[in-house]
Symmetry: C2
Subunit: 441 residues, 2 copies
């Protein structure tokens, strides 16, 4: 890094320091096209407009019906277009794909790479599903494909895993990776609100889409878990094969019960090498109040990794929203402009494997049953648990009238399949019991 | 990243996946010499021995009186030497400096760079003091100088700041950067022990040196703060000019008082751009119990950064010890072997500046006074505060006999210089008052 007398971030030239002076060597700017001028596209344009990055130059913005998108604060030299062919035919060196979804994003990225352009994208669905194919295509074309913004927004997770922790052997990771679920669950926690109210609030504030299915069911987080597994654990998985549990069944009673044992509830994505298989799951789980996963609120994300040599490492910050996601995009643009090799070219010592997927983790479990007045529910649970060699401890009970009693238990350490079998057996005795079974991480 | 059928981390070859298969392209191994076979040198050797990194090959271990250091588990092809000239004359491509201290580390690194070798070091004192000079020398020699292990051990802070957050404008950072201080303070917190007892325990367990002055006085953390300021804030500072307060005056009473207002005490290193100057300080401070800085125990480190676009980002993990520090060293070795450009060559858009240093932060302050029985101490504090336009709230008082009363107050938001003036005025009235003044971060 050169030590010079002037930094454009400060108002006026400063005195030259006495030693180590050297002019920075500027590269001619990389021409950049942005595809999709939504929240993130606008935020990326904002950073490129406000911050002097001599190595980056925005030249094209592509969007359908682009005329309604035009903004007066964008440099007038930038060309607004609704023709992707315009972008392809231009001399832009980097295409930033911010349209989302599988198509036409995949086709646009393929065409850009084949045309010798590098690509930066925030598209987790596409990268989880077709990442290896696109990385391979980029390699063959001699181009670059960067996707730091696809996981945990502004938190520099991918670069930390690919480079800063490259010297470790990571065996396990847990994350709070979905901003919508986290907004809903952390608001259920702090405001003691019902799931449906928290979802409406999230939609009102733009944290949840009109159809939040991919978020609340766990597909979005599964995609991010697939990307993290590839990079941290060197295992390739299909996001659609990850065991998921939707967060929709979580009630405010569950937060109150969890609090009794020093926990809260978050959507946790978990991947763990387990002998010759990878255990992976996404769903609501109890987490200790003093854990980094519990201390995520609203749109915050957190990733915790465990390494053989370095132990536990935590990265957390703003996981969603225009600004933080744009930071990750611009960081990727700088890495390309500054000719940092592609991370996928870096890990040449590491080889990806496919492993059988499992999700039969061993843990303590939280079990909540909603039932009519039935005095023997505790007895029934304890009896069934005893049969499987584990114990159940009652932690909370709420009487909401004769047809609406809720009881919560902690089951001692066992495989998830065992806990599920217990719940099935309990339901065989009483089909009206509505159970919720969550791991305690 | 190539998708292949075998990963040496698993026991046996696995089935080839159906698509995306490509053999990884191996580079011939980089020959490596380690200087200094202490805790970290041993841990680096352990990782290089246990983990197959085809791009890395350890060939030399240098230490004074090397024969007493020999270990049977090290590959017998490795040459043990007590002559640095042997290393210089060899065909090693990377020299790993783990001797610590300014000399002879600086000379060895200079000679290695001038001989066209790249250097990896964990030496924070040297990098803080002579970093720009050595980086410049490496650049001129066409070699590489990496120092990811110099700050926060295994926590991938430098790579996250240099690359993952490159797209943001960072304005402020806070960190718990010294393992010894953190061991002492977190043990004073959890065991309610006195400073001297916690220090003895730290020395017994190897967390503190026989002479812990550089740690407890703040010089070690100042060096790390100087490195972070250079990379995150693009400001060059002299670690010896940073305002430091030793942690030696903190008592277990202070932890009890801090807890009353939801805080604990940590050695906090803080750097903040403040108009045309950089505010920097290292010393004990009150931090909220739910902040990432408070949730560091024993040898854990944490760094929190604030960016204009990405908001708050947290990185934490094991900041000291052989294993975590070795992870950072091996990650740097891999970055060189895999030809990732030097981070200092990367940030060619950014220029370093020197700014006037300040430490007159505005904050609430914690004030503890030890005094003989003097009923009017509260009144005296309030009176002096009022004169400066701020308020004082009494939060704790302990009666340890007539000559040993301790009183704690929170002073409302003001400049540190104002709080210091108040303490001076109070002491003018009563020279026997022993004050401790800490910022509340």
């Amino acid at each position: 890094m050169a030590l010079t007398s002037y930094n454009p971030r400060f108002e006026a030239p400063l005195k030259r320091p006495p030693t180590g002076i050297k002019q920075a060597s500027f590269i001619s700017p990389c021409k950049i096209a942005i595809l999709g001028f939504g929240t993130v596209g606008r935020a990326v344009t904002r950073i490129l407009t406000e911050t002097p990055h001599p190595s980056l130059g925005l030249t094209h913005i592509y969007n359908r019906s682009v005329q309604r998108k035009r903004e007066s604060w964008v440099d007038e030299k930038v060309k607004w277009t609704d023709s992707f062919d315009d972008v392809l035919a231009s001399d832009t060196r980097i295409v930033v794909e911010l349209m989302g979804g599988l198509e036409p994003a995949r086709s646009c990225i393929r065409q850009a790479l084949l045309a010798g352009k590098s690509v930066v994208t925030a598209n987790k669905h596409l990268l989880a599903k077709h990442g290896s194919e696109l990385v391979e295509l980029a390699r063959k074309a001699g181009s670059r494909l960067e996707y730091g913004a696809s996981v945990a927004g502004g938190v520099p997770v991918l670069c930390a895993l690919q480079q800063g922790l490259a010297g470790d052997q990571l065996t396990k990771l847990s994350g709070v990776l979905n901003g919508t679920c986290n907004f809903i669950l952390s608001n259920m926690e702090s405001r003691e609100s019902a799931f449906s109210d928290a979802l409406l609030e999230a939609q009102r504030l733009g944290y949840a889409e009109a159809n939040p299915a991919d978020d609340v069911n766990g597909l979005d987080a599964s995609c991010k878990l697939a990307i993290l597994s590839r990079i941290a654990l060197k295992v390739e998985i299909d996001p659609e094969q990850v065991a998921t549990t939707p967060i929709t069944s979580v009630r405010s009673f569950d937060f109150a019960a969890a609090k009794r044992i020093g926990c809260t509830i978050r959507q946790v994505s978990h991947g763990e090498l387990n002998g010759r298989s990878l255990f992976a799951s996404v769903g609501p789980a109890l987490v200790k109040l003093d854990s980094p996963l519990a201390r995520t609120y609203d749109n915050q994300n957190a990733v915790v990794t465990w390494g053989k040599y370095g132990g536990e490492t935590v990265l957390s910050g703003c996981g969603a929203g225009g600004g933080p996601t744009a930071v990750a995009v611009v960081s990727d643009l700088l890495a390309i402009a500054r000719r940092v090799p592609a991370p996928d070219h870096i890990n040449c010592d590491d080889e990806l494997v496919r492993l059988p997927l499992g999700s039969d983790f061993s843990s303590e479990h939280y079990l909540r049953l909603s039932h009519g007045k039935m005095r023997s529910v505790s007895q029934l649970i304890r009896q069934k648990c005893k049969k499987h060699g584990i114990t159940a401890q009652s932690i909370a009970r709420q009487n909401g009238g004769s047809a609406n009693v809720q009881s919560a238990f902690v089951l001692s350490q066992c495989l998830h399949s065992v806990a599920t079998a217990i719940v099935d057996e309990v339901r065989e005795q009483n089909r009206f019991l509505q159970p919720l079974l969550l791991p305690i991480r």
